[in-house]
Point group: C2
Chain length 490, copies 2
């Protein structure tokens, strides 16, 4: 803020106070504490204030006041993100979209839902179920996380192998730019003229605009569903089975892998009936009409046997199916009970590199003296190694970070990326320097500048400054000059 | 170009001449004529020169020379585009990518193809067929059109209902920016960190960068395929049948509609065995394993009967199937024989609005005294009304343009868009003023500026200048000032 800092600050807050109801503006330290971090709880910062607008007009007015006073804005959904994307920045306000939680329309003939950003992911499927429809992307946090945050992170879930990420299930967005101007992006038509701003908004982590309404694609609930549980004597055999299923042209609704450490932890925790002696298990969900299902079941069973599955269980009834999934969904907290702390990684690799990457992680695990459990979306090549450590032992903390960084660099080296679905946020800024060249990072900053020339939307997130990468040694800085001086401010 | 125009011009051409082999630089008027337009042949302009580089390094060098001399660049694939996207601009060079036509790799385990932009669409599927794979998007021009052009237009085709547009089938791109710097965009992983530049490049009509390599997703050739031909006594009944099929959760591989005028024209031309007395026909392709196919066939047959189909034919053998598709694929030239000229429209609408939009087109057809044939991707809501007229009768020419504009405005009004797959190019610049608000257009221009600040890549295409829209009366111009003065140059 310009001018005398104190008077500017007071003027800014009183402008917000004049706009919002009493409970729509939080400025007291005790009220701000719940907002000091998101799911990445190791990084905390108190915001200047938290605003909780109730509708688009209030969001617009907040953005205009922030523009007038030059204040940065950190948008926030449910705060379940794992990479610190909603962590406040010093001097910024947190713009919570939690009160924009109306389902505006459910259109059965067109199979769409129009919802505000603060609607919880699961609430959409619950509302659509009486019409036989549901919203497909299902992140593990779907009970709590909201659709605005899903758009910001381009969230996936167990079923995104078949049904796609958030980007594949959102048809249109209403977005406010940093100055509060309204943009309608996308349509119900399959393609739109102009540049694809819709895809650009997906996974942009709140850096490009504020979503105030989403039009979502709904799908018919599948007629039948079953889950296969296959056990393997080695992680490599399980990984090869994943490749074999996909190579056969079968796209399961979900295809998840867990290794022995994860199996035992989950079994102790929820008693799902997993085979404790297996080196790895696959959970493979199939859905469709009865005839499709039986045909695919036969094909998958044959493939699993050919790939050396030591046992195969089929859960056709809802109860057993849910129990098998319960073990998978509880795997993170279950593994969490094995050590004081765990570091959840999120990288993607081309599917055919699964076996070798898992082998390399096992080698490093021994080398660093840290146990690593693997529970992940195998069909997508989206890994979630969980590194177990004790944060009170300093060497273990550093070793966990170093091991994590090596795993992400390996993901990039085999042609994958440093994040599958958890985003970059503040957690992975340094890894972005490994993922992208200076030319590519500069292009990302120019996109940011095209939406937010002053860099006031969620500053310091998602795309590292060129200086930061230069300091990490990833970039040549000629006589102290970065190659793209016009991008100094990012 | 700055400096003495003649000497700058000569210096520019001799820089290109030093770089390229003799047949890689065309400057003589007779050599330039084949490049004066693309598939939109009514708009012609001779370029300054045509360059035909052979590999990425030559493309880079051409771009650097153009940057040095401030010359604009019009990229060109096979020149089959229908909206004038590859039409030369005065003083610009045409950068033909026709000689970058190598298939660099076919990876069966990962099911991907790595190809240069000048590879023909159909050539990819031909090369992949021995491995049981193919590339899904199949625009009607697939014998001739190249993958670089498909990326530029985000091309679809008969099968994009089930298998998606180009954007859904491209995994990664190598792109040169306007200064020749290389960007690697996308990966083989399902999601990438950073903003989604991959989707942004799709359909960007050569305004953001030059594609020098594409990594494509290949699909397994379906085990079985069959085509249903259903006849209806009214266009509305056929449109309702389309909605009923999709509402039942069935996604056919293709779902096309033809009205009576199109049926008769196609029948006279290729004798596909279409029912001449039908008001409309649907062609519905189903694919999958034998069990899936039989199950879906029964479901679709039942739905078609319930929706009042007057006859249903099933083509299971390849010969009949191809004959039925031949009529559809030849429909444009067949309709072309009915009148001296035809104007091929390309708009999209939400599927459930099909019946009412077709009815309105019929009313306007009578009102304007111009016959309109409809042949289109019904499942996608992608209309292709063909307006028949005689360009030698001036009133007919104007009437055809006016009718076309009204149809596009109707598409926008019902929630659709002014182009499905043919792009904006130069043809639809004015319609873009109806599709987007000034705020939205300004955002598109800022995206352009983030890639090409001087506006030298394919200038004057795809996104109209704000001045142009203002002159059309779509925008308020305050005291002669546009609302976004920093975007004056676009």
């Amino acid at each position: 803020m310009a001018g005398s800092p104190d008077s500017e600050h007071a003027a800014f807050l009183s402008a917000l106070r004049a706009l919002l109801p009493d409970d729509g503006l939080l400025t007291q330290s005790e009220d701000l504490h719940p907002y000091e971090c998101d799911g990445l709880s190791v990084l905390r910062e108190l915001p200047l204030a938290v605003v909780l607008p109730r509708h688009r007009a209030e969001v617009q007015a907040v953005l205009k006041i922030c523009q007038q006073y030059g204040v940065a804005v950190v948008p926030r959904g449910a705060g379940t993100g794992l990479s610190g994307g909603a962590r406040p920045s010093a001097g910024a306000i947190v713009l919570s979209l939690a009160r924009l939680k109306q389902i505006r329309a459910l259109d059965t003939s067109n199979r769409t839902a129009r919802v505000q950003p603060g609607v919880r992911n699961l609430a959409i499927s619950e509302a659509a179920r009486p019409m036989g429809l549901y919203y497909a992307p299902d992140p593990s946090s779907q009970i709590a996380c909201t659709i605005g945050g899903n758009v910001a992170e381009n969230s996936g879930g167990v079923h995104c192998l078949k049904y796609g990420l958030t980007v594949h299930n959102v048809l249109a967005l209403e977005v406010l730019d940093v100055s509060g101007e309204r943009l309608e992006i996308g349509s119900q038509a399959p393609d739109s003229p102009g540049y694809d701003l819709l895809a650009l908004m997906m996974g942009s982590e709140g850096l490009l605009g504020i979503v105030t309404e989403c039009t979502l694609r709904l799908l018919p609930v599948p007629e039948n569903t079953l889950v296969l549980l296959a056990a393997f004597a080695s992680v490599v055999a399980a990984a090869d089975a994943v490749s074999a299923i996909i190579a056969a042209g079968i796209i399961p609704a979900g295809l998840e892998m867990m290794d022995q450490l994860a199996i035992e932890a989950a079994e102790d925790f929820v008693h799902a009936g997993y085979p404790r002696d297996a080196a790895a298990i696959l959970l493979c969900e199939l859905d469709g009409t009865e005839a499709e299902l039986q045909e695919r079941l036969r094909a998958v069973e044959k493939l699993l046997q050919r790939q050396g599955a030591t046992s195969i269980r089929i859960a056709a009834d809802a109860e057993t199916r849910l129990l098998l999934w319960k073990g998978r969904k509880a795997a993170f907290p279950a593994v969490g009970r094995l050590a004081p702390d765990y570091y959840c990684m999120d990288g993607t690799i081309p599917r055919r590199r699964l076996a070798e990457v898992l082998e390399q992680i096992a080698i490093w695990s021994a080398e660093y003296g840290l146990r690593v459990a693997n529970v992940f979306h195998a069909g997508d090549g989206n890994l979630h190694p969980l590194i177990l450590y004790d944060a009170n032992v300093e060497e273990q903390l550093y070793a966990a970070e170093a091991l994590g960084q090596r795993i992400l660099e390996l993901c990039v080296a085999v042609g994958g990326s440093i994040t599958g679905e958890h985003g970059v946020g503040v957690e992975k800024l340094d890894s972005m320097c490994a993922q992208f060249t200076p030319t590519e990072l500069a292009q990302l900053h120019r996109i940011k500048a095209a939406f937010d020339p002053e860099g006031r939307l969620n500053p310091g997130k998602a795309v590292p400054s060129l200086h930061r990468c230069a300091e990490l040694g990833a970039m040549h800085v000629h006589h102290g000059q970065l190659p793209f001086p016009e991008l100094e401010r990012f």
